[in-house]
């Protein structure tokens, strides 16, 4: 992605980037091409691909685009729309929760305690994401921890339906993506020159104004990186929606997974997967353009 960002890179550097391109090519570009090709094929009777007898006729009939056409059906558009909506909400909630946390760790907390606090953010990664998502099922279910606490506190007389709805999916998504927002925000807040905050106060700006006019613009690269890091995986999530959403909440990720694993319609699954990838790549291109303009990059 950032291969051309260096501008005047000399030819001598090409051998050095070769391994990067090799890895990207084998594990990303090649599978993407396979996906792209398959998305134009037709499903065979037993889940494989139907052989194409006359390529010319096949192309001219426009049948190769049938899966893309199908994905525009309202039922699927609704799923895409829901996925985008959930990813947007997840990103916003993550940003609102993470900013104070990152601000505290980077600026308020004494420097010697920063590594400990950052460690706490990273510790959940030691446990499998699947297990942590199951843990949320135990917390949120009718006789779960959350309901017992709520009832013990007298906030509700009967258990609430916390599991298997948009709320529980959102909790799972936010929980899973939180560290990916906190870390880039921390990185850019930690770089923030304190004397800029003091200069703002010196010039008459109260704390809220300093935050709005100095802190946020100065940490915009971290915010952008966090948004990308959270939004992209949220868009393709299927574990969380599967486990915490029950059968009710289908997201684009589940749709792809279902086409490959359940419906065994590889071409349609490929088409949807390719659409998702294309959307993400567009987002990343936007991000790359932004960082090139800023000349500052936390992520790439």
């Amino acid at each position: 992605m950032s291969a051309d960002a260096g501008g005047g890179r000399s030819r001598a550097a090409y051998p050095l980037i070769l391994p990067t391109w090799a890895v990207l090519g084998v594990f990303f570009l090649l599978p993407l091409c396979v996906l792209f090709v398959i998305s134009f094929a037709q499903r065979g009777t037993y889940g494989g691909l139907k052989p194409i007898e006359d390529l010319g006729a096949y192309v001219l009939s426009g049948k190769f685009l049938s899966h893309y056409a199908r994905s525009l059906h309202p039922i699927y558009l609704q799923i895409f729309w829901r996925s985008i909506w959930m990813a947007v909400v997840t990103t916003i909630v993550c940003l609102l929760v993470s900013y104070p946390v990152a601000y505290y760790v980077a600026i308020v907390a004494p420097p010697r305690r920063r590594n400990l606090l950052l460690g706490l953010v990273v510790i959940p990664f030691w446990t499998s994401f699947l297990i942590r998502t199951y843990a949320w099922m135990f917390i949120l279910r009718t006789e779960g921890l959350a309901n017992r606490l709520l009832m013990a506190a007298g906030l509700t007389s009967h258990p609430l339906e916390l599991l298997y709805n948009d709320f529980s999916v959102l909790i799972g998504l936010v929980y899973g993506e939180l560290p990916f927002m906190i870390l880039p925000l921390y990185a850019s807040l930690e770089k923030l020159d304190r004397s800029l905050l003091e200069a703002s106060a010196d010039l008459g700006a109260p704390a809220r104004e300093t935050f709005r006019r100095v802190t946020i613009p100065m940490t915009a690269p971290g915010i952008a990186a966090g948004i990308v890091l959270v939004f992209v995986p949220s868009l393709g999530q299927f574990i969380v929606s599967d486990l915490l959403g029950g059968a009710k909440t289908i997201l684009a990720g589940n749709l792809v997974q279902n086409q490959f694993a359940v419906a065994r319609n590889k071409p349609f699954g490929s088409a949807v997967a390719f659409e998702l990838t294309a959307a993400v790549l567009l987002l990343l291109l936007g991000y790359a353009a932004y960082t090139r303009r800023r000349g500052e990059d936390v992520l790439l």
């Binding site: 004397s195 200069a199 010039l203």
Partner: protein, 373 residues
């Protein structure tokens, strides 16, 4: 409180944990003067400046600006502005936006704000740079933007935290003169922090020399230079010619001393308490006020100490002589090279000479701390 006091610092102490960065400092900074806080790094000068700006709160004591107590007032409500050490310009804003930053919190409309920005930029010869970003400016230009941004708000007191430190030597000299001229024409009180005694002398009306959190001496710039009150100030001002002796008698405003290097000297008391006969005291004479002679001049009433030449450094305009007395005390003599050039090297190391000075140039030293303004 006297009407001409701009910043009144009363018994201010700032402790960070166990250590006192600033220790019981009291100072009156007068309205419209160029005041320097001078001292080595870690002496507490920046902490004191930051307390005037409101970035640190004193552990003890009070700070008043123009008669109003500001000890617990946050920075954004103080009538002072600061030029930060590395300028702290907002990198995401243009020069014009940087200068306009604080005007938004003033009761003025857009056009008035624009006029003020243009006015200040012109004052600092920055017209035409409005649309540039800080990273497109030279060090000197950045320094002027920082100054413009602070002055745009017409502060009662301008605080400057070593603002010339990042500039090269030649530019620095120019800016010193410009800054002093600017201060005089605006009539704003400047409080300037520096570790460079020459810089402080060039610009300041008055200087406070700080050491280990305390004010060693505060007073008129020339006076601090010529009549250092303590050994630390004398050293810091580049006058490290220490003579010791014992008091013979102290009649009137003078003290007659028996020098440990031999000879007698009658030195002025400079207003301090008179020492008792027999007491051991030290005094200092600036290197440019010492003279080397072939003959003992004590009969003519000129204090003369027998010394041996150790070294000679020819510097073009002047020659620096290093000499040593019988007791092992080392002295430095600056000699202007105004004689015919054949004579500039007239003495070789090992030559036995007499170190002479005028008794009025001798400065009695007191035992650390306390020199009042």
């Amino acid at each position: 409180m006297p009407n001409d006091v701009s910043v009144a610092i009363r018994g201010v102490t700032k402790r960070f944990g166990e250590t006192a960065a600033v220790d019981r400092v009291s100072l009156d900074i007068r309205r419209g003067e160029f005041f320097s806080l001078l001292g080595p790094s870690g002496c507490g000068k920046t902490t004191l400046l930051r307390m005037i700006g409101g970035f640190e709160t004193p552990t003890e004591g009070s700070i008043a600006i123009d008669g109003a107590d500001m000890t617990d007032t946050p920075p954004y409500l103080r009538p002072v502005n600061m030029v930060f050490q590395h300028y702290a310009l907002f990198p995401h804003l243009t020069v014009g936006e940087n200068v306009a930053f604080g005007l938004r919190y003033r009761p003025m409309d857009g056009p008035a704000r624009g006029r003020r920005v243009a006015e200040v930029l012109e004052l600092l010869q920055l017209s035409g740079f409005e649309a540039r970003r800080p990273d497109q400016l030279s060090g000197g230009q950045r320094q002027r933007v920082a100054l413009a941004r602070a002055l745009a708000l017409e502060p009662r007191v301008l605080l400057l935290d070593e603002p010339l430190g990042a500039l090269d030597q030649k530019l620095r000299k120019e800016v010193q003169v410009q800054l002093k001229r600017l201060q005089r024409s605006l009539g704003i009180t400047f409080v300037f922090v520096t570790h460079d005694q020459e810089e402080a002398l060039t610009m300041s009306d008055r200087i406070a020399v700080m050491h280990r959190g305390r004010v060693e001496q505060a007073g008129d710039a020339a006076r601090v230079f010529e009549r250092p009150a303590t050994e630390f100030v004398a050293n810091f001002m580049g006058a490290s010619n220490f003579f010791s002796g014992s008091v013979v008698e102290a009649p009137g405003g003078d003290v007659v001393l028996e020098l440990s290097g031999g000879g007698r000297a009658s030195v002025p008391l400079d207003g301090g308490p008179a020492p008792r006969a027999g007491e051991a005291v030290r005094f200092v004479v600036r290197p440019e006020k010492l003279d080397l002679r072939r003959r003992d001049l004590s009969e003519r009433g000129v204090p003369s100490v027998a010394v041996t030449v150790e070294d000679r450094v020819y510097q073009g305009i002047s020659t620096i002589w290093s000499v040593r007395d019988a007791a092992g005390g080392r002295f430095t003599v600056y000699e202007q090279n105004e004689r015919p050039f054949e004579e500039s090297s007239r003495w070789q190391p090992g030559a036995r000479l007499f170190l002479c000075f005028h008794a009025r140039d001798a400065v009695l030293l007191r035992a650390g701390g306390g020199g009042a303004s």
